[in-house]
Amino acid sequence: MPDLGKYALEVLSAYGVSLVLIVGIVLLSVARSRRVRAELEAVEARRQRNG
């Protein structure tokens, strides 16, 4: 861990919040992608069955 001096709080919070936001949007995107993919597959399967 580097010595951040008197600005430790600033630097750490900048990194922390940014990382949380980035990870947040990545997770949201992936989760929604999974969900929509599954839903679409269900609909397509129903379509195959019903012709």
Binding site: E10, A14, V30, R32, V36, V43
Partner: protein, 245 residues
């Protein structure tokens, strides 16, 4: 050589992009982690700014992305208006929330940086102010997409909003400059060597910028494909309903 427009076919777009997605994501992760770790742990403090220079590695890439994502949305909106390729409209829709998040990151890191540097969290500096306005544009754009039921209508309306909004965003940028002269750093990529940030700080920053760009590409791929699937699903459900009736 096949025309670029072939990729406007949703299926082809999805196949191609999903093939390259793992590589892009891996590279993005590598660059991001590498650049940030390099920047955070292995660069010296600036003699004036102390350890706060480390914020640079997030602040600058996110600020650049925030602007460039809007430009990309403008281009894809134009493509939709002119050639009516659905993928294009959906890519703009997929990109907007990423742009908004980038704007928030730039604003937040800037504010945190401003406190030690300028002695204030926020000043109505032109660049900061125009970022705030950019954020509002992102919000309006996203809200309009969300509010309209019909997909093609939404695509058309948001595209026009993006066009008109870009013009007004430029105007605002100019107006804000006129309104208040600023505190903020000039562009560091300027040719004037004096103003440039020292190389020690620049190499990791370049890696971070590459990381942010790759991250954006990966996210846009995932989100665009999600939008394509959601669109397809709505179309199928509408048909089922049509067949029931």
């Amino acid at each position: 050589m096949a025309s670029l427009w072939e990729y406007a076919n949703p299926l082809k777009f999805m196949r191609t992009t999903e093939r390259i997605l793992p590589a892009v994501s891996a590279l993005a992760a590598l660059c991001l982690v590498g650049g940030l770790v390099w920047g955070f742990f292995f660069t010296p403090d600036d003699f004036r700014q102390g350890s706060t220079v480390k914020i640079f590695y997030i602040h600058v890439p996110s600020a650049m992305m925030a602007v460039n994502i809007w430009v990309m949305m403008l281009v894809t909106s134009l493509v939709w208006i002119i050639r009516r390729h659905h993928v294009s409209a959906l890519a703009a829709r997929a990109a907007a929330p990423i742009g908004a998040v980038m704007t928030v990151i730039a604003l937040f890191t800037g504010a945190v940086w401003g406190q030690p540097m300028w002695g204030t969290w926020w000043a109505w500096d032109p660049r900061l102010t125009s970022f705030l306005i950019l954020f509002l544009f992102y919000l309006g754009y996203i809200a309009l997409w969300a509010a309209i039921e019909d997909d093609d209508t939404a695509a058309d309306l948001t595209s026009v909003l993006c066009l008109v909004g870009s013009v007004f965003a430029l105007l605002s940028r100019y107006a804000v400059n006129f309104w208040n002269q600023g505190l903020h750093q000039g562009a560091s990529l300027s040719l004037d060597k004096e103003e440039n940030v020292a190389d020690v700080f620049w190499y990791p920053a370049l890696v971070c910028i590459a990381g942010f760009i790759l991250l954006f590409v990966a996210l846009v791929i995932v989100r665009t494909n999600t939008e394509i699937r959601a669109r397809r699903m709505r179309a199928l459900l509408a048909r089922e309903r049509g067949a029931d009736a």
